[in-house]
């Protein structure tokens, strides 16, 4: 499960720290106490920044770092597609073998494929992504975000 890529992101997280944003959320994984505070900043529908702070296991920390790397600079629609693809991968119970198309979308995030085999850890990997979805809904008005990601 601990791919080199994951460990790299864990040890050298991208974009960590809280910066100015349009909305802030705080998510907790009650079963293990992992926490994240996450802010999003939009420029229209373009993601200007995702900043975050939190504590938790390597999976949840690396996942937030990957999220930052992948989503910052993207248009909302693309970001949502990435989020959905990542969700699908994580809920696959190890049954999805990422193909080229998926790799193209997810880049570093495909390294989490192995985590999907461990139900107890899937929530860790998803923590920041769920926080982002929630923050985005708040920042842009829930309708816009909900309709597309439901």
């Amino acid at each position: 499960m601990y791919q080199e890529v994951i460990l790299d992101h864990y040890k050298n997280p991208h974009g960590r720290g809280l910066r100015d944003g349009d909305a802030e959320v705080h998510h907790v994984n009650p079963t293990c106490g992992d926490e994240i505070t996450l802010r999003v900043k939009y420029d229209g529908t373009k993601i200007e920044d995702v900043s975050y702070e939190g504590q938790g296991c390597s999976i949840s920390q690396a996942s937030a770092s990957v999220l930052n790397e992948l989503l910052v600079g993207k248009d909302l629609a693309d970001a949502q597609q990435i989020q959905e693809t990542f969700l699908e991968l994580m809920q696959s119970k190890g049954r999805v073998e990422p193909d080229d198309a998926m790799e193209e979308v997810l880049e570093d995030a495909v390294a989490f494929a192995g985590v999907s085999k461990y139900p107890a850890r899937v929530k860790c990997a998803l923590l920041s992504w769920m926080a982002w979805k929630d923050a985005t809904a708040q920042a842009l008005g829930s309708d816009a975000a909900e309709r597309k990601t439901a």
Binding site: V28, P30, T31, C32, Y118, P119, A120, R121
Partner: protein
Amino acid sequence: MTQLPGLLDTEALRKDFPILDRQVHDGQKLVYLDNAATSQTPRQVLDVLSEYYEQHNANVHRGVHVLAEEATALYEGARDKVAEFINAPSRNEVIFTKNASESLNLVANMLGWADEPYRVDHETEIVITEMEHHSNIVPWQLLAQRTGAKLKWFGLTDDGRLDLSDIDEVITEKTKIVSFVLVSNILGTVNPVETIIRRAQEVGALVCVDASQAAPHMPLDVQSLQADFVAFTGHKMCGPTGIGVLWGRQELLEDLPPFLGGGEMIETVSMHSSTYAPAPHKFEAGTPPIAQAVGLGAAIDYLSSIGMDKILAHEHALTEYAVKRLAEVPDLRIIGPTTAEERGAAISFTLGDIHPHDVGQVLDEQGIAVRVGHHCARPVCLRYGIPATTRASFYLYSTPAEIDALVDGLEHVRNFFG
């Protein structure tokens, strides 16, 4: 050998049940006709139980080690099996309990502690029937005592059916919950669910169905049933002891308060307050009966591999045969419906004025296991003015030859005390 249409291949099936080979009282072949009390357990279930303990045993949820992941997958997999077996809209509607009694108490307690609109209090009414198992009477009596609610019930007709003639007076606008048995364990009666549910829905009352004697014997579809809660118990359906089920509609389980508190059922705990996990976990405090749930899953696999419709047909054929044969026994009076229509495979009877204890004992000496007493449904005995009954009850492995043995045995009982 008596051949009846619709029978299962019991010769093959009986090989799955080691206990059916037992001999009792120095060489009497066991004739097990006490299936309404508990069913026997097939080797397929026992193997799964052993394998669980020998290979995968661990506490469920939250573990990151292999055994914990495996045990969790098996336990939650059993929930999936139950959900499919009863056609539940969601697996999250399946709560594991220790038996049907706990399931029914859970419903009563949820409603006692609920907020409006579900709350049972001194201005509201609870409706049950006179043919309930004590496990569907006492929880409601306790709830009524403790909340001041009024307990009402449907009476019985002389031929062992619910008397619904006063349904509009029994179920009223004050009724919060109607709880009744789908198949009576003492009378064998199959109750007219639709009529009762329609009236309950009219007044906005919740409906709880005690399916303890239905789930083992016939296809059970909670969606077509249209109840709000359905309870049943593992040990009567080829599963282990120590496991029961409560199915409840998701939005109710979300709204209703927890009952037992503890590990597994929480979201987050501090000394000052706690929040609860979503259903079903909210209602599963403490280490659940893990192996037993897994065993129940295996029992469901076993039953499904035979087919619940085939089991129903088998038991129906046996019941038809049994009521016919029992009618030949002088002085025998069936307590409950005297035909196989709308009845299950538990048949209660009296035999002249020979006390059921004596009937049961002398049958036992011949290897025939029946149950005697009030079968945890004493109000039925009171209703029919009898101290107790003898009850023979069949299951998928029961045979016409066993019914013949029962009839011969009863003849012997009559001679013995004649």
